[in-house]
Amino acid sequence: MAQSLAKEFTKGLWAEIPPFRLVLGLCPTLAVTKSVENGIGMGIATTFVLVFSNLLISLLRNIIPSKVRIACYIVIVATFVTIVELLMQAYTYELFLKLGIFIPLIVVNCIVLGRAEAFANKNGPLPSVADGLGIGMGFTLSLAALGAVRELLGNGTLTIWGGTPIFEMAEGFLPFRFMLEAPGAFIGLGLMLCLMNLIGKK
């Protein structure tokens, strides 16, 4: 039992890590990764929604009629998204402003609905929570990694929390400003995907 739970959890961290292996949820990935901090914030918000919606959908999977299941999932997911939105507004307001419209848009993040349909719908509550947590953590890691690359090249700093950077490029380093703009997001993600392919092939 414990072993299979661990398996559900860890598959999200490498074998099925979104958005690299499962090419889903690209919009938030590209939009919010201007810094590590934003990436982690978005990742945690998504993880919260994933875990709770997976849990609830898995508990209700025998009650929900299959014809209206998508509508039910949407209601459940949207409810948790709104809760996250309110909580972030109340406790991490600065982050809330930075992520802006992308918090309510977690509702249409294909990862969340995808996990509901592909996993929580067919499995018990415990594996579903493990699955949600794993995929969510994987997503957070990816966002943080992409955020780190873009922030480092685009701004020359790494900031985890608060204002002071934990790492700065040597003096004389000229930041590639375009990494912080839209094209940098696409190209950064494209190159990271290529790197994953290279490593995965061995």
Binding site: K67, C72, L86, A90
Partner: protein, 193 residues
Amino acid sequence: MREMINMVVVLTVLTALSGGLLATVKAKTEVQIENQVLKFQKAPAIKGIFPETTNDPLAERFMIDNEGVPLQVFPGKLSDGSKAVAFETKGTGFGGAVGLMVGINVDTDTIVEVRVTTHSETPGIGSRAKDDPSFASQFSGKGLDTNFSMKADGGAVDAMSGATVTSKAVSVAANQAKEIYQKLKPEIVKQMN
């Protein structure tokens, strides 16, 4: 038929539960959210407009009724003894609404200062309305008989080069603030005392 009823019942119950849950969370977080908005959006603007006050404009804020729409007003007692108020108005810019906090000296009917609170303008272009003080400083000290439209439209304000739409949004907000103030001044003065 039974299936149909089942579907409707499940969906209805689910939506009702969702609504109930959200209402609870909303009620629990409402005060905290209002504080956060004050702290992160309004407080810096107020601080910029009234750098030195003998009172606390944030704590003494009050609401007045502007034709059915509540308006939040921040009273400030300036260090030279005169009284002022600040409130927020909105103009539509190029990326959407631009919020402008306008400080008005009640004794002399002049603008103390204006500050942009929220905007979603293009970084580096329209966003200068917030970051570049020389644009906003055009409003400082102007009497309320001034027309705050762009110079091209017969007003008194120089547009930021390359950011005409954003400049216009700010001037629309400033003109709006002027109108609101002129209409509601008796009410504001009454509330301040």
